[in-house]
Amino acid sequence: MAAAEDPAPDRLAFSGEVNRLLAPALDRLSPMERTAFVMRHYEGMCIEDIGRALGVHAGAAKHSVFRAVQKLRQALEPAVSSAKS
């Protein structure tokens, strides 16, 4: 069963491409944007809790997440679109 669940080669290649683009894209985020995004996307914290954790208003936390998503989307969308097509 485990073998059947292994990722297909094209999926591995796609993940590698996204990973390659992700590092420089993350470097272009401000420290606040990067941390807010990691907390929202990878840690699953809600905007309000991110604001509390970072000591900023929820609006500022929300804006940081939005800006991060916007920048990451610009960087990664071409690779994701070409993989889909």
Binding site: E5, T35, V38, G44, M45, F66, L76, V80
Partner: protein, 245 residues
């Protein structure tokens, strides 16, 4: 017609409340739904990747703010969530923190620090994932048993799917990061279906509804979720010693 802003779409993707009328607009606007799906593809593509480290200075600030509020949990988690390692601890400790902030952590009685850490984290994870799977099953069962003649209103199932999206993403990320996890495909299929249900129009014609049902059947999602849930219940009932997540 006022389209949803990118900010509203981001909130919607993460399962947080969007602006008033956002749901109704998404129901009726193909353009906004396509934009949401396009954004979801990019963000979903990042799920299986290693969690990026936030910058050290901010990690320290985060920990200093959270630790006093966590109290005993902070002491128990110190080895896991040391400053500078916040993002590297993985979904388990993050879930404990997130659950604390949501007021959902239970107290483990009569345990030392090491025992408390293990029991609290693994016990919490099993209970939380079990609840998530039960709610997932309910949605699937209701969809499978709905009358598919004419227009089908799935707004209730959609609302519940929306409520599950956030935690579902965490579990899927954890499953994808675990190389030998035999349930990766199950989580991936269920996450995709959950998103599609949440982002579909709330009223479907019989053909559209039938597509969803066929997908549930073809992927065997309901069966797989039952199997995963059953395995979890067995682990929940097993003695704490030797339990591994």
């Amino acid at each position: 017609m006022k389209h949803l802003t990118e900010e509203e779409l981001v909130l919607r993707y993460y399962g947080e409340a969007g602006g008033a009328g956002a749901e109704e607009h998404l129901d009726s606007c193909d353009g906004c739904r396509a934009n949401l799906v396009s954004m979801a593809r990019v963000l979903d593509a990042m799920d299986g990747l290693e969690v990026p480290e936030p910058l050290d200075g901010l990690s320290n600030r985060v920990w200093q703010r959270i630790a006093p509020e966590l109290g005993g949990i902070a002491r128990a988690l110190e080895g896991l969530v040391a400053p500078g390692r916040l993002a590297a601890v993985g979904a388990m400790a993050a879930l404990v923190i997130a659950a604390f902030l949501a007021g959902r952590v239970f107290t483990a009685p009569d345990a030392g620090v090491g025992g408390f850490r293990g029991r609290c984290a693994s016990g919490f994870m099993l209970v939380a994932v079990g609840e998530h799977l039960e709610q997932s099953q309910m949605i699937l069962i209701e969809l499978m048993n709905s009358n598919a003649k004419g227009t089908v209103d799935i707004s209730e199932e959609q609302q519940r799917a929306q409520d599950l999206i956030g935690e579902n993403r965490l579990y899927r990320q954890a499953a994808l990061r675990t190389g030998d996890n035999p349930y990766r495909t199950c989580w991936t299929n269920w996450s995709g279906l959950l998103l599609d249900v949440a982002h579909s129009p709330s009223k479907l014609n019989s053909a559209e509804f039938e597509q969803i049902r066929q997908r549930i059947e073809a992927d065997g999602i309901l069966f797989k979720i039952r199997v995963v849930g059953s395995n979890l219940r067995e682990r929940e009932a097993a003695p704490v010693k030797g339990r591994a997540l």
